[in-house]
Symmetry: C3
Subunit: 359 residues, 3 copies
Amino acid sequence: MSTPKPSTFPRNTWYVAAKAAEVQDQPLGRQICGERMVFYRAQEGRIAAVEDFCPHRGAPLSLGRVCEGKLVCGYHGLEMGCDGKTIAMPGQRVRGFPAIKSYAVEERYGFVWVWPGDREQADAALIPQLQWHDNPEWAYDGGLFHIKADYRLMIDNLMDLTHETYVHATSIGQAEIDETPCKTEVHGEAEVVTSRFMQDIPAPPFWQMALRSNGLADDVNVDRWQICRFTPPSHVMIEVGVAHAGQGGYEAADAHKVYSVVVDFITPETDGSMWYFWGMARKFNPGDAAVTEQIRAGQHKIFSEDLEMLELQQRNLADYPERQLLKLNIDAGGVQSRKIIERLIADEQAMPVLQAAVA
Amino acid sequence: MSTPKPSTFPRNTWYVAAKAAEVQDQPLGRQICGERMVFYRAQEGRIAAVEDFCPHRGAPLSLGRVCEGKLVCGYHGLEMGCDGKTIAMPGQRVRGFPAIKSYAVEERYGFVWVWPGDREQADAALIPQLQWHDNPEWAYDGGLFHIKADYRLMIDNLMDLTHETYVHATSIGQAEIDETPCKTEVHGEAEVVTSRFMQDIPAPPFWQMALRSNGLADDVNVDRWQICRFTPPSHVMIEVGVAHAGQGGYEAADAHKVYSVVVDFITPETDGSMWYFWGMARKFNPGDAAVTEQIRAGQHKIFSEDLEMLELQQRNLADYPERQLLKLNIDAGGVQSRKIIERLIADEQAMPVLQAAVA
Amino acid sequence: MSTPKPSTFPRNTWYVAAKAAEVQDQPLGRQICGERMVFYRAQEGRIAAVEDFCPHRGAPLSLGRVCEGKLVCGYHGLEMGCDGKTIAMPGQRVRGFPAIKSYAVEERYGFVWVWPGDREQADAALIPQLQWHDNPEWAYDGGLFHIKADYRLMIDNLMDLTHETYVHATSIGQAEIDETPCKTEVHGEAEVVTSRFMQDIPAPPFWQMALRSNGLADDVNVDRWQICRFTPPSHVMIEVGVAHAGQGGYEAADAHKVYSVVVDFITPETDGSMWYFWGMARKFNPGDAAVTEQIRAGQHKIFSEDLEMLELQQRNLADYPERQLLKLNIDAGGVQSRKIIERLIADEQAMPVLQAAVA
């Protein structure tokens, strides 16, 4: 009958915790949803995660090492199992040692996914499908930022691309974005889609480059689209592209268009900070590593421009918690996404028995 | 009927917020009296200041830009007017947008002055007169420090120049300062004056330089004076100078003396930090840019020596809030200045209706 | 009859505050047991310590200077005596000035020792005896770390050398440490001794070097010992050494063994941070400065490996204050040492009259 602290994020859901390449021979300590976790590779390289807290004396297990698939504490050699139970410790009987929390964790699409809540409820089938992974027609690259802001500010940011005009004026921004209204649709608790279609406009610098790299003329007008898809808890996939004007736009044949997906996984670290996994999967010229690198570097620069804005926005909102923000049509994508998040949190909080089992 | 938090600074008064040169094409974000403000140049270069908080989603307006005299939010292009009312926003009707606070602000004497309180009460005639500005007989230069200490500690510091002997021993300090008593006069709520007159003493290195640069002998004894004038809320002007001994001292003819005014504007950032605008206006050799630079560099060094002292004094006082400090005769200038500040604050707090209007 | 805040450290006891060489011409400001102190050399170079708080305006006395054995405040020249009473101040009568706290302080064995509590109870005879100081048969060197962790975590660390196997695997760790049980004895409130004796084992790299530097074979098996002696409040001396196997081990004649004392003085700065004075006194090859330096550099590296572990352990324990840690046989040294510390604190808290006198 305890009153759980109101949370800003659901827990019984999959978050991206790391790029798979971040967890190799050494354990990786990372705070996710307020919990300090350690990720490592157990037997046969299978990913595992437990609390970053040795049950012996509270040392961080992430400073230890992995020996034959067991996580060994770097302080006194306690061997931890991936179920949170101590396997062994030099000179000790460990049967009575208290277990630490272990987490449901999956490696998929080059990422490590973690379910911070009740591991009994974790279902790997709920991890979103990423069609572009391991598909030779697509190329992908991306990066990771740590941002001192509520993760929902990034959802707001991504579900409204109007800001491109101002924050990213020299790369992907253009006045036509502001001038074209966007439309937001909500599909139950499964998805929020905000889309904008611009007809017969000049291509901004990024898309000129993309057209050229695909052997298409870059000096003719295009139809441009932005389709932002939020799926809970905090994934945003943005379909973006241009087609030579008059060829059908989003529906045009591949010979007339270039397109890609901006891939955003946003993971709360604490109530006021996040891990932001960003990247781009593209379906044009996938074998050209130079284009891949050029896009990655460009995205790095573009998303860096958002960092300061979000961190200072967070400071402003923390300073004035009582102020009501405006909810305009351009904000509908973020507003609707937050409503789904709030319902998920409310559902979790309504299950006190399960909550207690998790705690 | 709410109880306003007790303040350490009056609000219905003019503070120096910036050097005019700090506000050019880009907006300047700066916290003054606990409020985050953004300063920018509106129509015809007129200075303007509003809250650094976009009414749309709380983004900092200081990360935006100025277009044709309008402050444009860097996130979604909202155009803010200098009265705190939204002018326009792409694709939106803005009539119902809540206003943000705007501030009375004036550009004068190369500084930006702000009135953080009720802008209806702001009267530009209350800005102090600075005779040396735009006067070819005078030269001025100065700088700005951010200091993590209560702004009143700097008033204490400046209203008692005894500390020169110890903190600034190699430049302007000399034993005779300690040996000569000072006198403090209070002129109602308008001014506190602490003065010290030293007769027939050797000139310290700084004043030897000043005498030489004015073509006067630097190896004879001088009469020296220090007249510290505090005016509320936190301005301290210090008349300092030396005359060849026996020529009338402070009253001597210009042919026998060199003098200047140490100009100090001290602006609270928060209860425990300040912006310190320091400088010197001198009436000798005003056209010599090398002397100007030499003095500026010397002041920079001298005032830097005070920084660490004040920040650690602040830490000590915060650690021991219950300790009573001594109030000696040398402290009278600071003590009397603080009394005026306290009365101004009490007067403001006694006006709950106006306070409410400001909030 | 006030309720003193529960403390994590006893106050009426000697702590190492500084290396003697740290206090030369300039005063040294350092926080010990939560109190800001300034250490300086008074008349004839005698060490003295008072609060780092000028009774005039709260300036830190550690920014001042020492003139003829008097501590002179760097702000207004107040002269402080080593009894906490103001001696003089330019132009002032100081008889009514409030005294600040002064501390019993002793210089011994190259360290400055301070008694943070009631100076009337301070007895220099209670400072531990260090046989190796100023003894040509011994060499000593060491260093100082600032660590953001409860000082008792370092006592735990040092009273259980099992962790050498894991944290210091390449220098002094070896599997035999884990395999050999240790024994802990408590001698009233005077001492806790945890010892481990290993028979007929290979020497780890550090001890091979020590054997060589003493002209002994380094490729034969040895008997090895570790005898950790805790004495309150927080000193840990560790006798360590190896003898050629079968020569009597710890009791072997000097011709067959090499040994030294790891010297650890652990001083609380605050409840969550410490000053850690580490070093080694050795009885082999004492005249060889290169060996001294090699050992000091090696210890620096070894103890650095403990820093991150302890600081993250501290963070974990602060995050989960309610979790019970395990108390295994290997932890007995730390557990018993903490019990002595708790009794000392309880004894102090049971003396409210004296406490009041100290405050």
